[in-house]
């Protein structure tokens, strides 16, 4: 006979980087769209509207990159729910089975919701792809950023991408990745809402508090 216990699942760095990512992505999307489709917002050439928009974009980009680097570091030293292993559920048979069960639940083929404490395995698999998008965003972003200073640090590192892709291809990728991330964000908010109702584990509040109500093992 099991009973519900309050379990500490999401450690502080996991929660902080999660919300930093959200703030960064929203800021980067808003400023990024204004950079891609600039509007005449200034009345005089001595104003600095686009200058500030780009400044905010670059600061948010640094924040996002540092947040992601911290989260990657935490996936090596954090608890089992934040470990990098959790993001590759297709690598072990038990998780594969759970993934299948979750997919069947999502597609209304089954009414059985697998019991999970950390990430459910379908979400975790999706996050590993989202991480790749993040990396793509950071690499293309810094490659484009590097163009103002040829010979500088970013030109010598991320800027080398310009030898693989043309500038315009980098811009297009940077732009398309943004839309993919927005698509992910819609899905993510919906899935959390759904799981909050269906699992009754308080998954949404757990991202603030770190605690989830789960059954005792």
């Amino acid at each position: 006979m099991s009973k519900l216990v309050i379990k500490y699942v999401w450690e502080l760095p996991v929660r902080v980087t999660h919300w930093l990512n959200m703030v960064a992505i929203l800021t980067l999307t808003a400023t990024g769209l204004l950079i891609a489709h600039p509007m005449t917002l200034a009345g005089s050439p001595s104003q600095f509207v686009m200058g500030w928009i780009r400044f905010v974009h670059f600061v948010a980009a640094y924040m996002f990159a540092i947040s992601l680097a911290s989260r990657i570091y935490w996936s090596l030293v954090g608890n089992r729910y934040s470990s990098w292993r959790t993001f590759f559920p297709y690598l072990n048979p038990e998780d594969r089975q759970q993934m299948w069960a979750t997919l069947r639940y999502y597609t209304f083929l089954s009414r059985k919701l697998p019991h999970v404490v950390g990430h459910n395995s379908v979400a975790a698999a999706a996050y590993s792809l989202v991480f790749l998008l993040y990396l793509g965003m950071i690499c293309t972003g810094f490659a484009l950023y590097s163009e103002h200073a040829p010979g500088g640090f970013y030109a010598l590192t991320f800027g080398q991408l310009r030898h693989l892709f043309s500038n315009q291809t980098l811009r297009l990728l940077h732009h398309c990745f943004m839309w993919l991330l927005l698509g992910f964000a819609i899905q993510h908010v919906y899935s959390c809402w759904l799981m909050d109702i269906k699992e009754r584990g308080g998954i949404i509040s757990s991202m603030f508090s770190g605690y989830k109500s789960v059954e005792e093992d």
Partner: protein
């Protein structure tokens, strides 16, 4: 201006190289010449103290031989060089080079002209400068461009391979340019790709800015070596900075004032052309400071965005010229990344809204195993 101490004892040939006299004959004063030397030191990003050294180098110069080869080109680069309205010091600097072969301007023709070229390649091996204009076709054995019975590749291999250095003028000679645009029917490439062993300096641009060629030659005469280059083989003095960073419309970009439609109020007021697809932010060239046709103007000054003509494969990579982003491959010409992205976002939202409605009306789900069921029953029993 006197003839600077040169007397009649000098042979005719020596007199021919007498630079001060050449200037005098063309009516260029010493003052104008010194102004030119200062301008060149500025173009090469050298301290102004180099101006007298440039003057000295040009005064004392031994005639270097130069051959000008033309392949798949529109002769636009030759035009850029020759079309000056009045004789300039720059032209005279180019005159001191012994131009032994140049299809467009040489008087010799046929086998006599080819004999001149052969003579340079044989007798001045490793000493002459080769200038190449136009791309080199490689497809089908190079049959698409043959001169004097030889393919462009054979001629380039022979002439550029034996040169002290090759200057590729214009985007075609540098990276293939327009002839290499997709689908590249002739397999056109730039000089460095066609003759990997040659020492090549690229001066891309469509056309090249003749001032940059003059400055390169002055650099060569002064230092006896080629200027430092970037990753695409372009000299840093001319291609080290983005157009965007030196653009006269940059304050409008930073302020947030954009041309939104051709001929609108912003366009008439000279606002930034970024929104109209200007490729200045990704193009490295000194157009804003050097300008074209004796510093008369350049595209952005005349109200047209930069086409990115000094970047490799600009015809394929910088198009569409009047939009910020390229078209998404696989979708129609008119579909932009944003329309597809918005469709994706709305589609995702719609799918999950549907999923949510179905989940809501579906009622109670079972948790895994009996655990939750048991809990529920326990509670009910109580």
């Amino acid at each position: 201006m006197d003839n600077n101490g040169y007397d009649d004892k000098k042979s005719a040939a020596e007199q021919h190289y007498d630079f001060p006299q050449m200037l005098a004959e063309r009516g260029v004063s010493r003052r104008e010449f010194m102004k030119f030397c200062s301008a060149m030191s500025a173009a090469l990003a050298l301290p102004v103290t180099f101006a007298p050294k440039i003057a000295q180098a040009l005064d004392e110069v031994k005639r270097p031989t130069l051959v000008w080869l033309e392949f798949q080109s529109c002769t636009g680069d030759t035009e850029a060089l020759l079309r000056a309205a009045s004789p300039t010091v720059a032209e005279i600097v180019l005159d001191i080079l012994s131009v032994d072969y140049a299809e467009t301007i040489m008087t010799a023709a046929g086998h006599l002209a080819e004999a001149n070229l052969d003579k340079v390649v044989k007798e001045e091996k490793g000493k002459y400068i080769a200038v190449v204009e136009g791309s080199i076709p490689l497809k089908d054995g190079g049959v698409y461009c043959c001169i004097a019975g030889k393919t462009a590749l054979e001629r380039a291999t022979e002439v550029c391979g034996g040169a002290f250095a090759t200057i590729a003028v214009g985007t075609c000679a540098s990276y293939g340019g327009l002839p290499a645009a997709a689908p590249n029917p002739t397999g056109a490439v730039g000089v460095k790709e066609a003759v990997p062993g040659a020492t090549v300096l690229n001066l891309p641009g469509c056309p090249l800015n003749a001032d940059n060629l003059t400055a390169t030659i002055v650099h060569f005469l002064l230092f006896k070596k080629l200027p430092a280059t970037d990753g695409f083989g372009r000299p840093l003095f001319a291609y080290g900075k983005r157009i965007h960073d030196n653009c006269e419309r940059r304050p409008h970009f930073d302020a947030g004032q954009y041309v939104e439609k051709w001929g609108d109020e912003g366009h008439r007021k000279g606002f930034c052309l970024y929104r109209m697809g200007c490729k200045g932010p990704e193009t490295y060239h000194n157009c804003p400071s050097q300008r074209y046709n004796e510093k008369t103007s350049w595209p952005v000054a005349s109200g047209h965005g930069c086409a990115g003509c000094s970047e490799p494969m600009f015809w394929d990579r910088m198009t569409p010229l009047y939009r910020r982003l390229p078209n998404v491959p696989g979708f129609g010409i008119e579909s932009t990344a944003d329309k597809i992205g918005l469709g994706l976002a709305v589609g995702t939202a719609a799918i999950f809204a549907g999923h949510g409605i179905i989940s809501a009306v579906r009622g109670e789900d079972k948790m895994e195993g009996k655990k939750r069921e048991d809990l529920k029953h326990d509670k009910d029993r109580r």
